[in-house]
Symmetry: C2
Subunit: 245 residues, 2 copies
């Protein structure tokens, strides 16, 4: 599963400042895929992850084709790739819908995410280069400020950078991609999370334990702290799921 081109990218260790603003982030060594199918896939994935297309929504090939002014062929290819990535489900001759996992499945996905993120945190504690550690601390500090400011959207954005930095810290691109893919798949079901403002400060406190452990090179501690963090996040979700059945 190549996740090089999922909506959210894992920042690499290279220079932070990008000289040019591009419509789509295409810094990966793997060259651009400027096909319509690819653009559609990115667009649809983005809409699913951002909640514009709610879980369960029907994805009519003809509708989508009309909407983007292309034929059904690239739409079909995009949908197939989304099916493979788990964001979309489809059955032969019965159309495709935005994936709507069962509660049991979501529980499994959260458990997997906790374990994967814990793995990344543990590996990061062992291996993360000094420069990356400093950047992680900087992001963490940014989150501290934002947790006071109480801006959920911005917090969410920087929070993603925080987690991505830890994925990259594992120094294992494959594990980082799996972890990100799991996060992306869970994303549609945790949108409203940071609406709860008290959550921001709590989240920062949990992050703090993770960062301290990583800085200290404490593998087990970092893994445990991250696992706890994700499990608390999952707890918040359950409240949400129950109140919105």
């Amino acid at each position: 599963m190549s996740l090089d081109d999922l909506p959210t990218r894992i920042p690499q260790a290279g220079p932070e400042s990008e000289p040019v603003v591009r419509r789509v982030d295409r810094a990966s060594p793997q060259a651009d895929k400027v096909t319509r199918a690819e653009e559609l896939r990115l667009q649809l994935a983005d809409e699913i992850v951002r909640g514009v297309l709610a879980p369960g929504s029907g994805l009519d090939e003809t509708d989508i084709a009309r909407r983007f002014s292309v034929s059904r062929t690239p739409v079909r290819e995009a949908l197939r790739q989304l099916v493979a990535s788990g964001l979309v489900e489809s059955r032969a001759h019965r159309g495709a819908v935005v994936a709507q996992p069962s509660i049991e499945r979501l529980t499994e996905m959260f458990e997997a995410m906790a374990e994967l993120e814990a793995l990344c945190a543990g590996l990061a504690a062992e291996r993360m280069p000094a420069a990356e550690r400093q950047k992680l601390e900087a992001i963490h500090e940014e989150l501290r400020v934002l947790s006071y400011a109480g801006n959920p959207e911005r917090f969410h954005e920087v929070n993603e950078r925080f987690h991505n930095a830890i994925y990259a810290g594992s120094q294992n691109g494959y594990i980082a991609e799996m972890t990100l893919a799991t996060r992306v798949r869970v994303q549609p079901f945790r949108r409203a999370q940071f609406r709860n403002l008290g959550r921001l400060a709590k989240s920062h406190a949990e992050h703090d334990r993770v960062v301290v452990a990583i800085m200290r090179g404490d593998k087990a501690g970092a893994a445990a702290a991250m696992r706890a963090h994700i499990e608390l996040v999952r707890g918040e979700y359950e409240l949400y799921a129950v109140s919105h059945p």
Copy 2:
């Protein structure tokens, strides 16, 4: 990423004996997809995993279409899905080839596999129901016999069942699928592994530590033993990779 339909299936906890022999194992609740694209995908995936299509082989749409007596459309869809699953790589307008990861990438994948299998083993030690534990022991015993008999093909087959039983033992379908997907992706690069006959007995000895720990409910021990096992497997691979550059 839905792996419900990868060439190798994770056996569930249900009754072992299947009353009817089917061409393709389709016991999943998710109904059959009897489209040509789907058949092609399974067929091609199988050929890649079995080594019939070597890494780096070109996958010409027209050739494949002729070979299977279909049009290019289902071929394209099958290839797209294989790209998404990681077994195939493709660049726009330049065709598709069987995935040929770099040594670095393969190292990452093996590390991921070690961690995922260790995770499964640990969870299995905690959660596996008694009936499944007994089946695991039975498979382990089967492997013991086969390690004497020295039949690499059969050993390989039962070995897969052994690992699949542990994936299922995690009681987490999502983690089991990720682990299996990783195994499948690595598969083309470890074909010749059990040619080395001495490896069979060693493998069984390593498995033994895993099984004992699982039976004892020793989470950490099971994880550690499995991690060690996979890392040894990786060691064997490196020898193979070096001698066949």
